[in-house]
């Protein structure tokens, strides 16, 4: 069995980045025009331990520093190239489209809170519609977080955000060369917005949050 980490656009650079052939741990699985980096495993069910997650992340990070990467979800185990080809199905085309889009780009993650008072959704409401309306209000993004997200989105190639009103968890796809400038922008923008607190940025990550956005993304920023 083979544990999969990511699809890559340059398997030779990828393996070199992982220290191959010295370690003998990693291999490339080829299906059609795509290359995937994996490692042999005898565990059909990888354990989601802290060390295993860190190990997966370290491998993908080394790959993303060397070439374009489309990362797989933790725990993807295949029998071999035939099994992979069968299970990829239409995702084969998606991955082929994403690789050039992700070249030279990384994901940054943002978490922030709004200090403003938010109304909680009522525990009981007069009707289902009223309850859902109240829930929608509660979950709509606080204006200051919406402003922050808007500014950052305008400076990113792509953005995704989840919010439950008082906090935002967002991801931004940015050019690698623009990481520092983006972080500066986060700091400057957050400092100008009353009520925004607990701001954190992590990364650069492989573009985990954008693997489902084949139709919205292009190789050129802003297209």
């Amino acid at each position: 069995m083979i544990y999969l980490y990511a699809a890559v656009d340059d398997p030779f650079r990828a393996l070199r980045a992982l220290g191959e052939p010295a370690t003998g741990r990693y291999l490339v699985v080829q299906t059609g025009d795509l290359s995937f980096v994996g490692s042999y495993t005898d565990r059909p069910a990888p354990e989601a331990s802290r060390s295993a997650l860190a190990d997966h992340s370290r491998c993908v990070q080394q790959l993303v520093d060397a070439c374009a990467v489309v990362p797989f979800r933790f725990g993807t185990v295949i029998e071999g190239a035939g099994d992979l080809a069968r299970r990829l199905g239409p995702r084969h085309t998606d991955i082929a489209r994403l690789l050039p889009v992700f070249r030279g780009r990384v994901e940054l993650a943002l978490r922030a809170r709004s200090g403003g008072g938010r109304q909680e959704a009522p525990k009981a409401a007069s009707s289902g519609t009223a309850y859902l309306r109240a829930l929608l209000t509660e979950r709509s993004m606080a204006p200051e977080l919406s402003q922050l997200h808007g500014v950052l989105t305008a400076s990113a190639v792509a953005a995704r955000a989840d919010s439950d009103g008082g906090q935002i968890k967002a991801a931004y796809l940015v050019d690698r060369a623009g990481v520092e400038g983006f972080c500066d922008l986060v700091g400057r923008t957050a400092a100008c917005l009353d009520g925004v607190s607990n701001v954190s940025v992590t990364g650069p990550w492989a573009p985990y949050s954008f693997v489902d956005e084949t139709s919205q993304l292009s190789t050129s920023h802003g297209q």
Binding site: S49, P71, R73, T76, V77, A109, V199, S200, T202
Partner: protein, 74 residues
């Protein structure tokens, strides 16, 4: 190396678990999913066989809850 990034005005040492939360969030909830179920073992208890979305959702939630309570997973 993936880590907390520095930018003006950010307080240090306040979000010590954020990087780990984001790590779990990305690896367990995002990334390419191909056909067939993913089976993972959580906290050394049982093998978990669940349909993909349910598994990922519940595991992420469990891990985030653990981290939120300051309990590192193994």
């Amino acid at each position: 190396m993936t880590d907390m990034l520095e930018y003006p005005g950010r307080e240090r040492d306040v979000f010590e678990n954020v990087t780990l939360l984001d790590l779990a969030d990305r690896l367990l909830h995002k990334g390419v999913v191909i056909g067939g179920d993913i089976v993972i073992s959580v906290a050394g208890v049982d093998l978990v066989y669940v349909s993909l979305r349910a598994l990922i959702s519940s595991v992420e939630t469990a891990l985030e809850r653990q981290l939120g309570e300051g309990i590192a997973f193994r």
